[in-house]
Subunit: 256 residues, 2 copies
């Protein structure tokens, strides 16, 4: 059983990838939406919340953990790997590896303030290819815009431009979409940074890496069980999630 957690609804983009790459894999999803968003919180708090999330999933029978949230991966990924005795897949390592493989010389990283300030992507990228130029930009307004479903609005495009135009001017050739919400704006992001820039989606990379692990260790993917939990099931999780996943979600309450 694969346990996936996120600060809220955003990690459903990882579920979507899981379904595409490993159809039929059994998973439990936990969205900690009673405490969402994680993006502006301190490392202390992120580590505490992430531990709560992992322990809930272990309690429900998870044998492998996927940290879908970029902020949790950046600020608590290493901490969780040291603290718990089961495989933990965070999004930073595989997304940085993918970017370093395709980049010509200049990688852009966008994410929440927490992810960007941590420099987690930067450290990994420079460990892999020390000569790479790295430019990063915190985009704190993109999560609320996406959660309001304002994908095609002029305001969204203006805000995207203010975040992305500086990266375009700097000449990034590869861009890591370092937050679960950003793939939903992929089309507009591509336009703003230019069509030649390669976009890296951490959701795609973390599931690729999970799939390789499951194959290598000859583990059963399970029989298509899907359980969804949220810490605030009465809020808009179900409404937003069903639009994103395009399927009905039977949402249960998680008490951490």
């Amino acid at each position: 059983m694969i346990g996936i957690f996120d600060s809220g609804v955003g990690g459903l983009t990882v579920v979507k990838e899981l379904r595409r790459q490993l159809p039929g894999a059994s998973f439990i999803y936990l969205g900690d939406n009673a405490r969402t968003p994680y993006g502006n919180r301190s490392q202390d708090i992120i580590q505490k919340y992430s531990s709560d999330d992992v322990e809930f999933l272990i309690g429900k029978g998870a044998k492998v953990i996927v940290v879908a949230c970029n902020t949790a991966s950046a600020l608590a990924g290493e901490y969780l790997k040291q603290k718990y005795d089961l495989p933990i897949f965070e999004v930073i390592t595989p997304a940085a590896a993918a970017a370093s493989q395709v980049a010509i010389g200049h990688v852009g990283v966008i994410g929440t303030r927490g992810t960007i300030n941590s420099n987690a992507y930067g450290r990994q990228l420079q460990g892999l290819r020390p000569e790479l130029l790295i430019s990063s930009q915190a985009c704190p307004l993109l999560v609320p815009l996406v959660e309001e479903n304002l994908f095609n609005r002029a305001e969204t495009k203006m805000i995207l431009r203010s975040y992305l135009h500086p990266l375009k001017l700097k000449g990034v050739d590869t861009l890591i979409l370092g937050c679960t919400h950003y793939p939903l704006l992929k089309k507009h992001i591509q336009i703003k940074v230019g069509g030649q820039v390669k976009l890296i989606d951490p959701a795609e990379e973390v599931i690729k890496s999970l799939g390789e692990y499951l194959l290598a260790t000859k583990q059963n993917f399970g029989d298509g069980v899907a359980e969804f939990y949220a810490t605030d099931p009465d809020s808009r999780f179900k409404e937003i999630g069903e639009v994103w996943l395009q399927e009905e979600i039977d949402l249960q309450r998680a008490t951490l």
Copy 2:
């Protein structure tokens, strides 16, 4: 000792009013910014978090509670008044009373999704003046825009217009700024709804009502003690708060 709580930094607009109307009053402020924002959460969660907040303040010696957060006031105000045995001042009652006194015939209410969906302002207004027309609008993007300090940006003005122009067209003559963050956008809000519309600031009204209570019960206002607590003191609370209050904040950690 006056205990003031809010979901985060927003309630500092209430502290500002307290200082203006009751200079020298002693208070403890708690910002639950490890779980901010409250605006999109369910009533269950808001009641739980608000109880945690009140109990923290009581533990620190508060004898009177001010619920600075409109969402907590709307979704947990009555609940807290029944649960705790000390005076609880929430923002809905005095702001609705003030609006009903100045309105010609049509009151607009803006707030978070939680505040607007609760219809807490609407119920109070109609209890006071059943003939009043009431039009409300959830404005979920204004909190993140204000917290990013984007007061004068074109994007902010466009988003404000999309929320407020419909209220202007409907002909509201009075507008309740039903979220602690909105007074920081007062100037732009006034422009978008028209100069003749009367703006009601719940922070101003709740402190007026607290002042009347303290006078009536002949209570000492205290000797200017000010204590600030946050559940995530290492995040941007201090940085944002010091800009808003224009004073240095000695911030302590609250564990709820």
